[in-house]
Symmetry: C2
Subunit: 319 residues, 2 copies
Amino acid sequence: VDTIFNPRYKMGRPEKGMISFISQSGATLCIIMDWMAHKCYRGAKFISYGNALNTDEADLIEYLVSDPDTGVICVYMEGIKNGRKFFEIAKANSRKIPIIALKGGVSDAAVNAVSTHTGSLAGAPEIYRAMFRQAGVIEASDLEQVFDFARVLSTQPMPRGKRIQIITNGGGFGVLMTDCIAKSGMELAGLNDEYYGELKKLISDHVVIRNPLDLTGDSSAEMYIEAIKGAMADPDVDMVAVILLLQLPTLAADIVEMVSEQNKTKKKPMIIISAGGEYTEVLKKSMEDYGIPCFSYPERAAMAMKALYDYSNFRGAKK
Amino acid sequence: VDTIFNPRYKMGRPEKGMISFISQSGATLCIIMDWMAHKCYRGAKFISYGNALNTDEADLIEYLVSDPDTGVICVYMEGIKNGRKFFEIAKANSRKIPIIALKGGVSDAAVNAVSTHTGSLAGAPEIYRAMFRQAGVIEASDLEQVFDFARVLSTQPMPRGKRIQIITNGGGFGVLMTDCIAKSGMELAGLNDEYYGELKKLISDHVVIRNPLDLTGDSSAEMYIEAIKGAMADPDVDMVAVILLLQLPTLAADIVEMVSEQNKTKKKPMIIISAGGEYTEVLKKSMEDYGIPCFSYPERAAMAMKALYDYSNFRGAKK
């Protein structure tokens, strides 16, 4: 506690991973690194370039594309110095490596703030949006979403489709996740009953094999694992969303390693949703460290799965 | 750490406060209490009512309206048993006390999930939405937003208008907050220079009194306090958004108490935006405990200020 309250802030530094970040704002980059370390998000290179006197975002993207440590490039920008150059470099590389951008100064009100901050010309948001889309740059709507997308894109395999299987031990969270999947334009998988044979041996009669698959309050780690294995084998399922409410007394900390083993197979994209207090946060950091993206609430999870699906489509489409 | 890893989850319980919660889902309510305790959000009464055999959400709202501890009522519901009764009770009380609802099962896909979970008829989302609006119930789009709204509505005074003054020590966050304010339909205050006399004595020449008011990297706690006092006195400002990036070395932990003193005046609504690692989280919990709503990123903060403004309009409007 002494170190925590030291007036000289003890800043976190993320462990080595695949997410690189280019930021036009220095303070924002400090926060990002501190926050990533706290959440156990892993990072590669972090570059603050301010008013960009003798370099620009396009040069830095080009550098990171050739960096063997970088698996995803994130950019916070307030303006683009040379639009044509940025467009060409982003377009040439966005199929090789995901590029996620957050554009500051998309409102008229922010144009003045941008001009006194980094001296950039903020430009019309519609032009940026269209340019990002044509160049294959993934646009995030806020800073948290940059990392929602980056974590899923840097750790999970490409899905073959948009059909999601929900596995849960809480009915309410299953309902909310279903709503969020529908809202994001993704779909619930119509699961194929025959792939869940091992699960059927473990579950009570009141559990129905369906979607959301609600293992209810007496779910064990074994049931979760068999349910995940079933979904990974089931040809009618493209992605797996595992809601893990750790408050329920039948789940112990060993579930973390067991779920991580399933994630290692990299057969299909998998994400975790888990919300609560200190104990939950500790276990989530541990899963995050194992390379499983963890979310607190359904909405952000569904949007991140959507971003992964969209990127897989974009990468698979003909140029 | 031993207690944290105990397989029997050590569940948090929130300290006494004004937020009450009615939930149709038991597991969801457990998570909410655990999460609130972790974040230092304060709570009054928590009621899980499941399939609602001999009571319903309308009865429970009526009970909480008369509860002296409750200042805001939050509801997670999957269906409503008696629509007319709910509407009448909500409408009769929503000007006295804010009622915030999150409706589970707003998508076609979720209707089946709801029917096996609580046995409710989920109903068309458009009908719920229209009913909430007519009854003065504030609808949240996800669980986090329920608490974004509840914390602001339970701790802050009603604003006179929608003009927000941003005070920041990071330019990028000031730009992003400006975008979010514009997106939410709120406005940047066109501040009145003459109220910031004390601040002018403290600041460097490179700081301009404007909006966002960027105190820059050499901001001190004293500058923040004078900036807040200026905004509280300035008739052209209705609400104050304070971005506090605690990574910067000139700010020490004493800023927490100093900002809390300003919040106690209750002259105008004030919220904090502060993001980062462990140190930031500890100081945010402390401010939350003092009754100042703290947000990590601009988007949620702007939406919560919008909800407060909308509610103040609703309450001020003729019946």
